[in-house]
């Protein structure tokens, strides 16, 4: 009779969501116990209140567990050539200790995912992505001498973001933080633990990401929060709810929320090209051949039929899932994908999929908003304005050295 092998421990079916290396601290700090799945990890939506977490990012210092983000280690003689073939941007000039934002497409030029490439040291790369990409990376690696490994669970990471984040990390004992320029990578220690610190983030504010061995995760967390214990700075753990608010303000798109990734799109017109996402700036036709180039080159010669745009929406009714029209009660031209009431801007800001006519955006965009007051639904119209820049940005996010506190 066959017996259970020891080589593969059984999947714990009672653990529907996987714990992160920081879970002990997260469980302690999460007052409302509202959990979400982020890539199958048990992730807090909110720790305390959405407002306090939002303002931790914009006013003081926030800490968020980044471990669930998919991470792949790419090494080998052809690592750079492979990545340059994979993504639409030219990364051949990406120096060691530098990070860049990238997207990658399938052969039809439709976006599979977005992410960041970390050039850790000469020829040693980490690709971070929103969705699971191992299958695509391995398919794409045919003919390249590269080694690709998923290391999502092997690296613990915390996003430390907010105007005092540099001061907090310095107070915690990390050296050289103030010298890091945006997209720089530095190596240091924290409480005697080796950490990598990158000046990267998804908040649009000053911020860093701290990377460490998962067995040291709790010590890293404690070393950062010790700064709060000392009474120097307020530091708050934040959940995915606050992150969504600040990333929309900063105009960052979320694959899966703002567009269907090509791999998961079922209906023929549901995938999106970089042009349709307003990401033409990430596509380089000058570099050597990359996946999707032929299709994108053809598309670049045509007029855009639709685009994901940033829309601010008048009034105070949040346009969740709203249809967009070319005039009040006119023809339907799009839908809101993500939206949030911005506490700083005191306005609704959104990302929306909008039909273009002959490559031009519509002259007028109106949202039909449904909202509820004491269980009664009402409808209203709100004028929308396209914005080519992020809704919110601040010089503090990019100056080096950052402001001292």
């Amino acid at each position: 009779m066959p017996t259970q092998t020891d080589s593969h421990p059984a999947t714990n079916f009672r653990e529907v969501l996987q714990p992160s290396p920081f879970q002990t601290r997260i469980d302690e700090q999460c007052l409302v116990q509202e959990w979400m799945s982020w890539n199958g990890y048990k992730t807090a939506r909110v720790f305390d209140t959405l407002a306090s977490e939002y303002f931790a990012v914009r006013s003081t210092c926030s800490v968020m567990d980044l471990t669930p983000m998919e991470k792949y280690r790419i090494t080998g003689p052809d690592a750079m050539a492979f990545l340059n073939r994979l993504v639409t941007r030219d990364i051949s000039a990406l120096k060691p200790r530098r990070v860049t934002y990238v997207i990658w497409c399938n052969d039809e030029g439709k976006v599979l995912d977005d992410g960041t490439i970390f050039h850790l040291s000469e020829g040693d790369y980490r690709l971070c992505s929103q969705h699971h990409q191992l299958d695509w990376l391995l398919l794409s690696s045919l003919g390249f001498d590269v080694n690709i490994e998923q290391e999502t669970h092997n690296i613990a990471a915390l996003a430390v973001q907010g105007p005092t984040s540099c001061s907090v990390l310095t107070a915690a004992g990390v050296t050289g933080v103030e010298r890091l320029k945006p997209f720089d990578i530095g190596y240091s220690t924290l409480n005697g633990i080796d950490v990598m610190v990158s000046r990267t983030g998804f908040t649009g504010d000053l911020g860093y990401e701290v990377w460490a061995d998962p067995t040291k995760a709790l010590a890293v967390w404690d070393a950062i929060f010790a700064v709060k214990e000392q009474g120097l700075f307020d530091i708050r753990p934040i959940g995915l709810g606050a992150l969504d608010m600040v990333r929309i303000e900063a105009g960052f798109i979320m694959p899966g929320d703002d567009f269907n990734t090509a791999e998961t799109a079922v209906r023929a017109d549901r995938d999106r090209s970089p042009f349709e996402l307003g990401l033409a700036w990430l596509v380089s036709f000058k570099k050597p051949y990359f996946t999707g180039k032929k299709a994108l080159l053809a598309e670049s010669k045509m007029l855009t039929g639709r685009r994901l745009v940033r829309l601010s929406v008048e009034g105070n009714k949040t346009p969740t899932d709203a249809f967009l029209y070319d005039s009040k009660g006119g023809s339907r031209i799009g839908t809101i994908k993500s939206c949030v009431w911005s506490p700083i801007l005191k306005m609704n800001v959104s990302l929306a999929d909008v039909e273009f006519v002959k490559g031009k955006p519509p002259e007028n965009i109106w949202a039909e908003i449904y909202y509820q007051k004491e269980l009664e639904w009402r409808a209203t119209w709100a004028k929308c304005t396209m914005s080519t820049k992020p809704f919110w940005s601040h010089p503090r996010s990019s100056i080096t050295p950052p402001n001292k506190f």
């Binding site: 009779m1 079916f13 529907v16 990409q133 079922v266």
Partner: protein, 537 residues
Amino acid sequence: MKNYDAIIIGAGHNGLTNAAFLAKAGLDVVVLEKNDYIGGATASLELHQDWKYSNCSYVCSLFRPEIYQSLDLGRHGLEVVPLQGSVTFKQDGDYLGSYHQPTVWRREVARHSKRDADAAIRFDADLMKWCRLIRGFLLRTPPDPASFKIRDAMEFAYLLKRFYSLSESQIYEFIRFFTMSIAEYLEQYFESDVILAHFSGGSIIGTGLGVYSPGTAYVLLHHAMGDVDGNVGSWGFARGGMGSVSAAIGSAFKSYGGNIRTNAEVQNIIVKGRKATGVMLASGEQIYAKAVVSNLDAKRTFLSLMDANDIPADLVKRAENFKIRGSSGKVNIALDGMPEFPALPKGSPLTLGHMHFTDTLERLERAYDDWKDDRWSQDPYVDMVIPTQYDPTMAPPGKHMMSVFVQYCPVEADGGWTDAKRDAFGAAVIDQIADYSPNFKDLILHAEIRTPRELEAEVGLTEGNIFQGELTLDQLMFNRPFPGYAQYRGPVKNMYMCSSSNHPGGGVMGAPGANSAREILRDLGKPNTTPEDFGDD
């Protein structure tokens, strides 16, 4: 002498569905059934005291919710409870558990292959593309592509429009999908042996094909295109066994004034002046009607119920050549308690779903090799379920009913079936299960063993083929059962077909019955009572 509006031959679920829609339109309808129970292959029988067996079909997914809704089957007693997950046991003592929680399922696949866990995303999305396309055709009469009638041209245009809603690359892939073997199809996605085997099973169930035979990829779709409450690809248990499906349709039929006669075997269809006028029962009784509808498979309908002199010679030839190869057996077991599966951790939910014991494509293909040599598979592929884990109505408390579907089992065991050979086939199946469950054999109180011989003799499925005809492209859509006869109309006037030998084919779907009713009502100038599909946009 009484003259009905319509006679339906065979009280299987399609016959009853057909009858119910005709009666709903106000027709005077009688259903004639040779057995003393209704349902045909969709039955719950008490073969051991206090145990109800779903002794032929055993799970429900394909049954069209549109029919369920329009015949009000919930109020006629039908409940379909979704079943959770599935498991393939490995020979080395490990297993692949398809947990119903997606996050846990993903981690389980990754335990066997990290790459396959990600490839499953691509696989799911691609399969859903084909499901969406095919689901739109289930409740429609296939167009005749060679016809110049406006209705056919419009229907063919609809088909093409759906087809061209796919992107260019999807069109290429779809055509390949229809003609590939399941092994080759899956190897485009997966690398792990057990994952390949796990996903392949649905592609050989009921077919005379192996995992490496072209055309089996489509059969996977045929098993994945159904849904339970919108969850495409999910399967459910009918509470009370599959007989509850036919009982509910029968009850709906009777509520519209319909009449069912059991123990009324039809011997032949009476044809006068190239028109069907009624049927002759085995008892010699003649019953007349304006329309005669056969729910028997195409072979039985054209070669047995009809006189070769009444139908075109080429149709006789086509019926003789119709691919309806029996390849499946069934073992239904009354258990004194719940069998243990030591490979699974305590409290594992994996026994709640489909259980399999074949962990490689090679073992699946070898099981097929045996069948080609007129032997039952020495190492068979089984699809095993224990519905009494959910259903309190099928066995006494603490006791269980196990349904074991077996692939492959030949139509003619080498030298012909005997009862001893049938029992040896059953023993091979029981031995395989016992390899993974040490207390299983001691729990067996009673077992019913069915080879194609029993399925043909008792249910009336030619060669025991559960789909009433192979599901290959040459026998699908406007080719089912034969070109020129895919619109449910027979070779003589007033004669119709409503069985699974017709589009969209086998499985407890109800669609052939409903589609046929629509055509009959059209010919009789009656209002259409059959539902349109809900429409997946």
